[in-house]
């Protein structure tokens, strides 16, 4: 076994997902401490090879590249099979995978193939007395757990999106590209991707650095209009509480909270959200929280950094106007 660290670099339509570079950055820090190389595993269809240079710039020493028609859409079987074989051939002691939807499938599928442990959605990875300890939220962040994979190798971790900082790319860095052959023929794969319906515009909640979120206070689907306008100006994602989603005012994709998405943006602007415990669990790790609510007793003010006690329909347009004068 080596001290090398594998990182799966996720891409969609030959563009790398930001969380991939966050994982490469996390791997780089660990490799600098334990020795060994950071090995980026880059799988996809035609054109994916262009990302190898980016992987080096973000901190990889080597790239294992597989470009094959069977890999052009993410499917867990061929991806996990190929990664498992690469692990067996190169013997890294650690594998990092971004905790995106695809990564959350790939990590466990790899771990089961290798009969090893997988720790999901880590927010911190650090050596303590020689043991690599992972910190991760449980119960939607109401509690934290520290875990380890003491015996089995490789140890597999998925890294939570935005929990690790993205390194500054260094265009001068270079490394070795090793080509892999895809190991599973198309007719052996049990799934076929027959289409993709892209979400209509907008910034995705998972990687937004600003989220403008609305709850019961928006009072209807059209109540999201001023929030959307503020979000557009700030290049922010639109979030929602469960109450608003359950009322049918906004699709589930926007829900923040224990039964929605857990988010951790730089700025979370909660508009007309009272702050039920299950909502707070999903956004409490945001760097700065602003609460706008008519009710001064709303629990959201307990976790907010700044509060405005007023009607969101007055405050949100005024905030947009005030920021418009100052931004750009």
């Amino acid at each position: 076994m080596t001290n090398d660290i594998f990182v799966w670099v996720e891409q969609f339509e030959n563009e790398a997902i930001g969380a991939s570079w966050e994982a490469v950055g996390a791997a780089r820090s660990l490799a600098d401490e334990q020795g060994g190389d950071v090995v980026a595993c880059l799988f996809g269809g035609d054109g994916v090879e262009a990302l190898a240079q980016e992987a080096f710039a973000y901190g990889a020493d080597r790239v294992l590249l597989a470009a094959d028609a069977t890999l052009s859409d993410f499917r867990v079987e061929p991806y996990a099979e190929l990664l498992a074989q690469a692990v067996q051939n190169h013997e890294p002691d650690t594998v990092l995978v971004p905790a995106t939807f695809r990564g959350r499938e790939l990590g466990p599928a790899l771990a089961v193939r290798l009969e090893t442990g997988c720790i999901a959605d880590c927010t911190e990875l650090a050596f303590e007395d020689g043991q690599l300890m992972a910190t991760r939220p449980i119960y939607a962040g109401k509690l934290m757990s520290k875990c380890a994979i003491p015996e089995r190798r490789p140890r597999v971790f998925t890294t939570r999106v935005r929990a690790f900082s993205k390194p500054e790319p260094d265009a001068a860095r270079d490394g070795e590209v090793v080509e892999l052959e895809s190991t599973v023929a198309e007719d052996q794969i049990m799934t076929k991707v027959t289409g993709f319906k892209e979400s209509e515009g907008g910034v995705s909640l998972a990687d937004a650095s600003i989220i403008v979120s609305g709850g019961r206070g928006v009072a209807g689907p059209e109540g999201y209009d001023p929030l959307q306008e503020l979000a557009d100006m700030l290049n922010a994602a639109l979030g929602a509480s469960r109450a608003a989603v359950d009322a049918g005012w906004i699709p589930y994709e926007h829900q923040v909270g224990q039964t929605g998405k857990t988010v951790s943006p730089d700025l979370y602007i909660a508009c007309g959200i009272s702050g039920a415990i299950q909502h707070l669990a999903g956004m409490r790790t945001s760097k700065v929280i602003v609460a706008i609510n008519k009710d001064p007793e709303a629990p959201i003010f307990k976790v907010a950094d700044y509060g405005v006690v007023a009607d969101l329909f007055d405050v949100v347009p005024a905030l947009k106007a005030a920021l418009a004068e100052r931004v750009d």
Binding site: E115, Y139, A148, F196, A276, Q278, R284, V288, A321
Partner: protein, 265 residues
């Protein structure tokens, strides 16, 4: 069709969680419920049974508390419910849990479709569904928001999976493991009759021996992950700074300045 639904119990999502000095996790007086994501799996199983005929069997690996999840599934309309447990199962991670569930499903035999929630709201590992599919060597269809087509005779299924950039449409062979997400259906409320049926129901307990599972592959010895420490996260300090001014416009201006000073815009 024979549909198996994997369920687990969790503390209610409104529960205030705490940890005592010995590291024991408590959910206070909050009730134990079926994992909310699993309710979508149960509902989808019932809808498919109504359309294609067949049986819905709910299973859960867990101590007696696991009956809460199974009872809920039966109250919703599941035909059968099996609990799987042995004391050595304690401390199982997803590697071990998926092994036990796979052995149980192989023991049931002749299963056409396996449904589960896309994750559970307690440990939130998101792993068991895909790990189970890997064990059974069947397709894994996590984050399914719509079953667009299903043909029991041809043994095929088409689903829409909710990913970050949109919906991926996937065709797969059956049996498969489908992980359900919110939006796929509206889980029904349990009826009085359903709750009565669940209370009278017989819940067989399968041990490792019943499912032919190797005790070395479950519990701590069968797990890769150890979780020695659970702690409460630091609370966010203090109360919000409430922005005070005469008019909303002035408040908005002050807030804008604060946010620019924080360098978050």
């Amino acid at each position: 069709m024979h549909i198996v639904v994997c369920t687990k119990y969790t503390p209610d999502s409104e529960a205030k969680m705490s940890v005592d000095e010995a590291g024991n996790v408590s959910w206070g007086d909050s009730p134990l419920i079926i994992n909310p994501w699993d309710e979508y799996a149960v509902e989808e199983a019932l809808l498919l049974r109504d359309e294609y005929g067949g049986t819905v069997t709910a299973i859960s690996m867990g101590p007696e508390h696991a009956l809460e999840a199974l009872k809920h599934a039966v109250a919703m309309g599941a035909d059968e419910a099996i609990r799987i447990w042995d004391d050595v199962c304690a401390g199982s991670d997803t590697l071990a849990t998926s092994y036990v569930l796979a052995r149980a499903i192989e023991t049931i035999g002749d299963v056409d479709l396996i449904l589960c929630g896309k994750s559970a709201i307690d440990a939130e590992t998101w792993q068991t569904g895909v790990a189970l599919a890997t064990r059974l060597n069947v397709p894994s269809l996590m984050y399914t928001i719509n079953i667009a087509a299903l043909d029991p005779d041809a043994a095929t299924i088409t689903v829409e999976r909710l990913l970050e950039q949109g919906r991926q449409i996937v065709e797969a062979s059956l049996p498969a493991v489908v992980g359900t997400t919110k939006g796929i259906n509206e889980p029904r409320y349990t009826s009085f009759m359903g709750i009565r049926k669940a209370a009278k129901m017989d819940y067989p307990l399968w041990t490792l021996e019943d499912i032919g599972a190797d005790p070395d592959r479950v519990g701590t010895s069968g797990s890769g992950v150890r979780w020695p420490t659970v702690f409460e996260p630091p609370v966010r300090e203090g109360e919000a700074e409430i922005i005070e001014a005469e008019t909303v416009e002035e408040k908005a201006k002050i807030l804008a300045e604060k946010l620019l000073a924080e360098k978050v815009i």
